[in-house]
Each structure stands twice: as structure tokens, then as C-alpha cells.
């Protein structure tokens, strides 16, 4: 899953490839200001729901966001103009580039980590806080290289119980209990741990 370490910034990559100033690695960063410019142009028309019209009293509710979007469009345009000027010469640096410090970055691990976090958020209302958290902690530890199950399982179970105590017991936070059978399971767990 994990990809090999990468130690090149987008600028360095294009420079390493030689003289082509219009390589994909150099053109890609321009998509960011272009997308922002497009968003700034499109969003004002979609500010209110179709059945609503903006109040006409005073400046109205659209004035402030409109002004900010116009500002964003202006600065995005400046950004694009600068980067287009940069593309003319391979020695010039684009506005966006990867941080220099990242010499050994495993993108595969990062993407799988993000996927795991998103799955945790998605499963939270389905499985409930207790089950989803215990599973998440265990899987995260395993994927991060902690393979000793005698450490992973207690950390996951004791950690989840401590968090349930702190947030559901002490702070009375109504964290999700899950749906259907998982709701009953969560209630049983909360009773078993003395929180309910």
C-alpha cells in the first residue's frame, strides 16, 4: 500500500526532467488558483436557495460575501498571471511547491490514513462511539506499524473506556450510540461500565 519515499518538490521534478517548462508537474499548481477564480465567479449566483431573494434593505446579506469573493477573484487572477509568467522560464519558481522538509513522504500511507479517518467518521453514527473508536484505534495502530497485539488490544479497549468515561460520563456529551442493534450494544456497554 505504501508508496516509496519521494524527495522531490514539484519544481525540482520539472527541473530534473530538463528543459520543458510546460511539464505536467509545473502546470498542475496553476489549477488551484484557476479553481478558486472559477469558484469566486460562480458562487455569487448560488449564494441563496432558488426560492429566496436577497433582502434589498441597506447593503443586503450578499454585500459582504460578494466583496470577499471579488477580492478572492482579483488575487487569484494575480496569482494565475504570475504563474503564467513563471511558466515562460524554467528557472523561475511557481507560487505553490511542496514543503522542502518532506524528504521521505509515504503518500500511500497518507492516503490510507485519510481513508481510515473518513471511514471512522462515517461509521461513528452507525456503529456508535464505543465500537467505532475501539476499532479505529486498533486498526490505526496496526497500520502505523505497531504490530504487538498485546499492546494494541489493551490500548484500544482501555483508551475507549477512558474516553467514554470522560466525555459521556463526566462531560455528559451525547456521543453517537449507533443505530439498530449497535444502539442496544452501546447501551449495554454504557451500563456495564457504570456510565448509565
Amino acid at each position: 500500500m505504501a508508496s516509496g519515499p519521494t524527495n522531490q518538490t514539484s519544481d525540482q521534478t520539472s527541473q530534473a526532467k530538463g528543459s520543458n517548462p510546460l511539464s505536467l508537474a509545473r502546470i498542475l499548481p496553476i489549477f488551484v488558483p484557476t479553481a478558486l477564480l472559477l469558484a469566486a465567479v460562480i458562487l455569487p449566483a448560488n449564494m441563496f436557495q432558488s426560492d429566496q431573494t436577497a433582502s434589498k434593505i441597506g447593503l443586503g446579506p450578499a454585500a459582504w460575501p460578494d466583496a470577499m469573493l471579488e477580492g478572492m477573484a482579483f488575487f487569484s487572477f494575480l496569482w494565475i498571471a504570475r504563474d503564467l509568467w513563471v511558466l515562460g522560464d524554467v528557472r523561475r519558481k511557481l507560487t505553490l511547491s511542496l514543503p522542502i522538509e518532506d524528504t521521505h513522504y509515504h503518500f500511500g500511507k497518507a492516503i490510507s490514513g485519510l481513508g481510515l479517518i473518513i471511514c471512522y467518521g462515517w461509521l461513528l453514527p452507525i456503529l456508535g462511539f464505543a465500537l467505532a473508536t475501539a476499532l479505529f484505534i486498533a486498526i490505526w495502530c496496526l497500520s502505523a506499524g505497531l504490530r504487538n497485539l498485546l499492546v494494541v488490544i489493551p490500548v484500544s479497549l482501555i483508551g475507549t473506556t477512558a474516553l467514554m468515561w470522560l466525555f459521556m460520563g463526566l462531560a455528559l456529551m451525547p456521543l453517537p450510540r449507533g443505530s439498530g442493534a449497535f444502539d442496544n450494544l452501546s447501551i449495554w456497554l454504557l451500563r456495564a461500565t457504570g456510565i448509565y
Binding site: 436557495q49 511542496l98 509515504h106 471512522y120 484505534i137 495502530c141 490500548v155 451525547p174
Partner: protein, 497 residues
């Protein structure tokens, strides 16, 4: 002389056993709550409010005051150790504090932070005790245009952290302000950018954005780089800050404290603009300004001093005018009202003992904060010895709980995760996240003050320039922008030649 006598009697009352214990407990609650991302000391103060029912009015203020002082500092612990600001005002602590942690100097960063915070808070408490009256009459001159100007100054200070990239910084800031406009607008009650999603109508909370952008991206990077955050040791001792190190940043602490005191007494401004402006000014003043953002002592000390210096100053308008300048002081006002105490000029005449006991308690709380802060920071620092795999898992769970806890709503968790992915992507391509967060925090305030100022002035925009204080602050903001951009302009002119 009367002020000294009254303060003396205030100290006697504050040093009584139960009063003193109340300050200590409040302080510890504040430091821990501030250090937990998403919980925040304001939430802790709100949760503590019912407990004050059974207390005497003075005791309740000591308790809440302790949480306030401790909480404002506590936010920096998580900012320095895991790059997640516990409170918005701790945002600048991530810029120079976290790089120090990455170098294995967490203990040193925490020592500088707690010393600067305590100094700022202490001076601010003394200001509160001796200069309340003249400051109160000055604060009374502030209205919506002045609040807007102060918030604008806070937004303008973002240019100082631009790191030679003012255009991209402006895009990030404006994007943040636009995100802050999602939901029902403050004056007309119409929902914007809700796209038919009912949850979007109540807006996107800055805490959720902050947790997502900073915590999730950082933990994913921790996983992808196998970075070790454990404190490094030299000659068997963890790298700490000596008294000489603190003396070296005395100028930064003094400037931060002065700014914090001034900004803190402006109702509505609060600790966040105070800390950000102090960082921006320090970046310009310091000889090492160009290296700010890489773990420079002055870059940490100045905003830390400023944010705690706002605590005492923010209580000036509360106690002298009955105007709460922030969410925290609003809860304190509520506690006073619950006990039948009405803050204002009459309070100084009717119950001076209570007022001066609060002043004394603020001074005591700031001195005690050094010990409480170091103790709690030590505890959190020990947590850093945990293997990164376990640490990362718990940061994510705490972040998700923190996002959920803002409104007890699963939608906020989804928003937090979306910003987590966005934050990670922004970091990967070098798009600055700090201006975006600042825009989400200060944008809604700026909009509210701007629209109400315009409505009060019958849509005459010159109101911001015809009022002397507002015009002065806006002038300062302009000078600050030009001052920050001067090196860029100079380098452009040199290139042209």
C-alpha cells in the same frame, strides 16, 4: 493610596483557604480544558457556571477567573506539542512553538510560553487593579466602527505572516472569510451558501475548521513521515529554557504585553487579534523576523504574552462598564447577574472589597499559573513519549469528539473531516492554512461590525474615517500593511534596476 489599601484587603480575602483553593481548582480546570482541542476554556466556563450557584458571588468570580486565566494559556500546550491550537488565540503558538517541538525542544517551548503568558497576565492584572477607571472611560468611546477597525487590524496582521507570498496569503484569508459567511447572516437573517443542507444554515464553526485543518493533516503527516516527536536529550537532560533565554526575549514579552493590554480592553477584540497582531509586529521588529515560523523564541514569546495580557484588560470594560468584551467575560457577567451583582461604576462604590478581591485573585492566578502550567505541560510532555501510532490515533479521536462537542452534531464531524482532507492537501502543495483559519475566526466578526456600522450611519462608509479612534486604527492597519510589504517592494525595485 486607597487603591493600595483596597488591593491589600483583596489579597487577604483571596488568600483565605477556600478562596485560594477555588482559584487553584479553577486554574487547573482552565489549563486542562484549554489544552484539549475542541473542549476550550469557554466551554469549561459554561459547564462550570451551574457549580457557581452554590458559591458566594466573590468565590464564583474567583473560580471563573481562574478558569479564564488558565484556559487562555492552556490552549498553547496542545498548539506547541501537537500543532493543534486548543483555543483560537493559541494559533500563533503553532507557528514557532511547534517547529521547536519538531526539533525536540518541546520543554523549552513550553517554558518560554508559560513564562511569557504569566508575565503578560500579571502585568494585565496590575493594569486592571490600578488603571481601570481611565481605561474604562476610553473604552466607552468605542462603538461598532471602532470594533470593525480593530478586527480589520487583526485581519491586516496576516500580511506579516505572508512569508514573501502576499498574494497567496490574501487568497487564503479571503477564502477563510468566505467560509465564515456560510449560514444565516448576522443582520438580515437570510441563509447563504447553504445549498439546501439544513445544517449549513447554522454556519461553519471556526473550532471545527481549526481542528480539521490542523489536527487531521498533522496526524496523517505523522503517519506518512514516521516523525518522532519525543523530546530530545542533550547530556542526559531534556532541552529546556534557562533564565538567560527568558531574559533574551524580554523585549518581545514587553511588546506583547503592552499590545495585549491595549487590545484586550477593546470590547469584542479579545485574545485572538491580540496574539496575531503581536506576532506580526514582533516579526517586523525582531532581528530574526525573517526566520519566524521556524521555531524562533521571540515569535513564541510575543503572542503568548499578548494573549494572556488580554485577560485582565478584558475585565476592565466588564467590571467598570458592565460590557463583556468576549464570550468568557460574558459568562462571568452571567455569573455576577445570577448572584444579583450588577457590574458597573457603582460596583466600585457599593462593594469595593469584592472588586479588589477579584483583582487580587487575577494577580495570584497568574503567578500560580507558572506552577500549574509547568505541571500540566509536564504531564502533556510525558504523553509525547507515547509511540506516534498510539498518539496519532488518540489525537484523531479527540479531534472528532471535539468537533462533535461544538454543537453535539455529527454534521460538524463531517465538516471537520472535510477540512482535514483539505488541510492535508493544502499542506502538500504549500498553500498556507493559517490565514484561512484567521479569516474564518475574524471574518464573521468583521462582517457584523461592518454591517451594523453601515446601518447606523445610514450606509455612509465615511463613518470609518470620520471617527478619530476608528480612523487612527485603520491608519495603523495601513501603516502595518506597508511596513510588512516593504521588503517585498524593495526587492521588486532592486530586480527592476
Amino acid at each position: 493610596m486607597a487603591a493600595f489599601d483596597l488591593l491589600g484587603s483583596g489579597f487577604v480575602a483571596a488568600f483565605e483557604f477556600w478562596a485560594f483553593m477555588t482559584i487553584v481548582v479553577g486554574l487547573l480546570v482552565g489549563v486542562v480544558a484549554g489544552a484539549l482541542p475542541g473542549i476550550s476554556f469557554v466551554n469549561a466556563m459554561a459547564m462550570a457556571l451551574p457549580f457557581t450557584y452554590v458559591m458566594e458571588p466573590t468565590q464564583s468570580m474567583l473560580f471563573l477567573g481562574g478558569i479564564y486565566v488558565g484556559g487562555v494559556f492552556g490552549g498553547s500546550i496542545s498548539a506547541i506539542l501537537i500543532n493543534v491550537p486548543g483555543t483560537p488565540a493559541s494559533l500563533p503558538a503553532t507557528w514557532d512553538g511547534y517547529p521547536m517541538t519538531k526539533r525536540g525542544e518541546a520543554k523549552r517551548a513550553l517554558t518560554i510560553s508559560v513564562t511569557s503568558s504569566a508575565t503578560g497576565g500579571l502585568v494585565s492584572a496590575l493594569v486592571l487593579a490600578f488603571l481601570s477607571a481611565p481605561f474604562a472611560s476610553f473604552a466607552l468611546k468605542f462603538s461598532q466602527p471602532e470594533f470593525f477597525a480593530a478586527t480589520f487590524l487583526g485581519l491586516a496582521s496576516v500580511i506579516a505572516i505572508a512569508k514573501d507570498r502576499p498574494v497567496i496569503t490574501m487568497v487564503s484569508l479571503l477564502l477563510g472569510i468566505v467560509i465564515g459567511t456560510v449560514g444565516v447572516d448576522p443582520l438580515y437573517g437570510q441563509a447563504r451558501f447553504s445549498f439546501g443542507v439544513p445544517e449549513m444554515e447554522s454556519g461553519i464553526r471556526f473550532v471545527v475548521v481549526m481542528i480539521g485543518l490542523f489536527a487531521i493533516g498533522e496526524v496523517v503527516d505523522l503517519l506518512a513521515t514516521n516523525r518522532d516527536l519525543r523530546p530530545k536529550k542533550t547530556d542526559g537532560k531534556a532541552i529546556g529554557a534557562s533564565f538567560r533565554d527568558i531574559l533574551k526575549v524580554k523585549g518581545a514579552i514587553a511588546r506583547g504585553t503592552g499590545l495585549g493590554c491595549l487590545i484586550g480592553m477593546i470590547p469584542g477584540a479579545g485574545a485572538t487579534p491580540g496574539a496575531v497582531i503581536a506576532y506580526g509586529i514582533e516579526k517586523q521588529v525582531s532581528k530574526r523576523g525573517k526566520d519566524f515560523g521556524t521555531g524562533i523564541d521571540e515569535g513564541l514569546a510575543a503572542p503568548e504574552a499578548a494573549k494572556n495580557a488580554t485577560t485582565g484588560a478584558a475585565m476592565v470594560p466588564l467590571l467598570t462598564l458592565g460590557i463583556p468584551g468576549s464570550a468568557a467575560t460574558a459568562i462571568m457577567l452571567a455569573a455576577m447577574m445570577l448572584h444579583g451583582v450588577s457590574p458597573g461604576p457603582l460596583l466600585f462604590i457599593m462593594d469595593p472589597t469584592m472588586v479588589y478581591t477579584i483583582f487580587a485573585a487575577m494577580i495570584i492566578a497568574n503567578i500560580l499559573m507558572i506552577f500549574a502550567g509547568i505541571g500540566v505541560a509536564q504531564l502533556f510532555s510525558t504523553l509525547m513519549k507515547t509511540p506516534p501510532a498510539i498518539l496519532g490515533a488518540f489525537i484523531i479521536v479527540l479531534s472528532v469528539v471535539g468537533a462533535f462537542g461544538v454543537r453535539n452534531n455529527i454534521f460538524d464531524v463531517y465538516v471537520c473531516l472535510a477540512f482535514g482532507v483539505l488541510g492535508w492537501g493544502m499542506k502538500r502543495i504549500g498553500f498556507p492554512t493559517a490565514p484561512l483559519v484567521l479569516g474564518v475566526i475574524l471574518g464573521p466578526l468583521a462582517e457584523r461590525y461592518f454591517l451594523t456600522s453601515m446601518a447606523n450611519a445610514k450606509q455612509d462608509w465615511t463613518v470609518f474615517f470620520t471617527r478619530p479612534i476608528s480612523a487612527t486604527i485603520l491608519g495603523l492597519a495601513l501603516i502595518f500593511i506597508l511596513w510588512s510589504l516593504a521588503p517585498n517592494i524593495k526587492s521588486l525595485m532592486v530586480k527592476k534596476k
